[in-house]
Amino acid sequence: MKVATVNAGADLADPASQAWNGVTAEAVALAPVPLAAQPTEYIREAWANRAYGKTAEARVAAATDGKKLYVRVEWADDPAPNAEFQDAVGAVLGDGPLDTLGSAASPLALWYWENGRGALNLVSKGPGVVTKADASAVSGTGASGGGKWAVVISGPASASKGKLGVAVWNGSNEERAGLAAVSRNWLPLE
C-alpha cells in the first residue's frame, strides 16, 4: 500500500479532513481471529458458539507528513446498541503472525483506538495478550455517521517502511481483546 506524502500542516489527524481526499483507500478483507488461538479456556468456551470478528471489510488509507504515519480506517458501523462495550480499531505493525495479532516470540505493535477511550499504544503478543507501551507515541480520532466509522490512528513515521494490518472490534457484539476481525494479509507499505 502506498503511503501518501502530504505537506506538513495538513490535518491528517482528522478523519474528515480534506487532506484525505487525495489519498487512495484500499478495500481490505478481514477475518475473525481463530477461536483456537484465543488465549484462555474461558474465552474459547464462552465464544465457541458465538460469532465474532463480524466486520468483513474495511477501507484503509495511509499517509505521512514526514513526522508521523497516519492510518485511516473506515468500516460499517453496527447500529445495535451496547452500553457496555465500544467499537474499536487497531493498526497492526511489525513482523509476525497477523491472524493471531502476534505471538510471544513475535510481538506486534498495535496502535489501538476505542470509542470513548481514545488511543492506546500496545504491544500485542497474541489475541488480547497485550501490554501497554509509551502512550504518548500514538494518537487517534474517530467519527461515526452515515452508518460508518472513520478513524485515524497515528504513530511514529518510522513505521512507514514496514507492513500494515488492521483489526476491528464490533462493540455491539461485545468484541474486545482477541475477539476481533483482522486483515487477512499484510499490506506492505511503500
Binding site: 488465549p39 479456556e41 464462552a46 457496555e84 477511550r117 497485550v130 501490554t131 474486545r176
Partner: protein, 344 residues
C-alpha cells in the same frame, strides 16, 4: 502452611450474628472505593437473603466451572444497571430548598429499573406470620481455583502466597472476561478508568498485621479472619474441625475461601398461631441451595451445642462464636491500625 509454602487467608461470617448494619461495607467503601468511577462499587456488600442481591440476580448469571466438563462455564457480565447505585441525591433540595415536608431524599435517576446494593433490604420471603430473611455479607472469595484469573488474557490477576487474588490495574485492559467468569459476580467495572476492580483483601493492612476492615469494624463480632490451615485458630476450628462454617455455592467449583455459619431460624407458626416445633421458618432446602447438603449437619451441630449449654454444659464452639474477646476474631492480624506508621 501447605507443602509449597503457600497459605490461604480465609474469612468466616457468622450469619446468626450479622445484623445487617452495613458497617463492614461502609468501612470498605471509605477505605478503598472513593476515587474516580468507584461510586457504584461495593467490594463488600451486605444483602438480604433470599433476594436478588448485588448485582441484581447474580446467582443466575453463570460463570464458575462446569461440573460435567470441568471447563470454564460461560457467564454473564453484570451491567451498570444490574449493579445499580452510584446515585446522586437531592440533598440540597431537601436540606436547603425551603421544601420542608414536601421533598424527600431520592436518587436522581429514573424511577424505572432503579437498583443498588441492598435495594431489596428486608424483603426476604415467606408468608406472614412465617416470613423470613437473613443478612449475608459478600466479598471476593479469594478462591483456591480463581476462574477470574484463568479467564484474563492479559495476565492482570495473580494469586499471592497468602492466598489473596489481586489485580494489577496497570496491566488490566478492561476486557471483563473475569467479570463473566466469576460465579460470585464480585468484580466491578470502573467505567471512568476502564479497569475491573474487586476486593483486595485489605492487603496493605494485612501486610502490616492489621485485620481487613470488614472484620475489624464489625460491631456484631460476626466476622473471623485467619489462615485456613492454621490449627487451633477459630477459622480452622469453625471450617475444618467443627465443620459448621460452609462455603457459598461450592458447586461453582472455584474453591471459595469465605465461609458462612448458616442461620438458625425460629419455628414456624401454625394457622392457629401455635408453634410448630418441627419446622424451621427458613426452608432447609433453601439453605441447602446456598451452602450444600452439609448445611443440615452444620445446623444440627449448632443446635445440639446450644442444647448442651442450656443444660448447664460448656461448649468451645459456642464460646468461639460468641467471641468474648473480640481480638480472637482477628486471627494473626491483631495490630491496631492507629499504630502503623504510613510508608507513603
Amino acid at each position: 502452611m501447605t507443602a509449597n509454602g503457600t497459605r490461604q487467608i480465609a474469612w468466616v461470617y457468622d450469619l446468626n450474628k450479622c445484623i445487617g448494619c452495613q458497617t463492614c461495607s461502609v468501612a470498605c467503601k471509605v477505605l478503598w472505593t472513593r476515587d474516580e468511577g468507584e461510586k457504584h462499587e461495593w467490594w463488600c456488600s451486605v444483602n438480604t437473603m433470599p433476594g436478588l442481591g448485588t448485582p441484581k440476580g447474580w446467582e443466575e448469571m453463570g460463570g464458575g466451572i462446569d461440573p460435567k466438563t470441568g471447563k470454564a462455564r460461560p457467564g454473564h457480565q453484570p451491567t451498570r444497571g444490574e449493579f445499580g447505585g452510584g446515585f446522586d441525591y437531592n440533598y440540597y433540595e431537601v436540606f436547603y430548598g425551603g421544601t420542608a415536608g414536601k421533598a424527600h431524599l431520592e436518587p436522581q435517576a429514573p424511577r424505572e429499573g432503579r437498583w443498588a446494593m441492598n435495594w431489596d433490604e428486608d424483603q426476604g420471603a415467606g408468608e406472614w406470620p412465617n416470613s423470613y430473611f437473613f443478612y449475608m455479607p459478600r466479598i471476593c472469595n479469594h478462591c483456591t481455583n480463581p476462574v477470574c484469573l484463568e479467564a484474563c488474557p492479559t495476565g492482570a490477576l495473580a494469586k499471592r502466597d497468602d492466598g489473596l487474588v489481586l489485580r494489577d490495574e496497570d496491566v488490566c485492559m478492561g476486557d471483563r472476561f473475569c467479570m463473566e467468569a466469576c460465579p460470585y459476580k464480585k468484580i466491578y467495572f470502573n467505567y471512568e478508568r476502564h479497569v475491573a476492580q474487586h476486593c483486595i483483601g485489605c492487603f496493605p493492612r494485612v501486610e502490616a498485621g492489621v485485620a481487613p476492615a470488614c472484620v475489624r469494624q464489625c460491631p456484631g463480632r460476626a466476622v473471623f479472619v485467619g489462615f485456613l490451615d492454621e490449627e487451633g485458630t477459630p477459622v480452622n476450628n469453625l471450617v475444618k474441625k467443627w465443620k459448621i462454617a460452609l462455603p457459598l455455592h461450592a458447586e461453582a467449583g472455584t474453591g471459595p475461601n469465605v465461609f458462612y455459619v448458616p442461620p438458625l431460624s425460629p419455628h414456624r407458626l401454625n394457622d392457629d398461631f401455635s408453634i410448630d416445633y418441627q419446622t424451621p421458618r427458613i426452608p432447609p432446602e433453601y439453605l441447602e441451595s446456598l451452602f450444600g447438603p452439609e448445611v443440615h449437619t452444620a445446623l444440627a451441630t449448632l443446635s445440639s451445642e446450644m442444647e448442651k449449654v442450656r443444660g448447664g454444659g460448656s461448649s468451645e464452639m459456642l464460646k468461639t462464636l460468641i467471641a468474648y474477646k473480640w481480638q480472637e476474631l482477628l486471627g494473626p492480624f491483631t495490630v491496631d491500625p492507629a499504630d502503623i506508621v504510613p510508608t507513603v
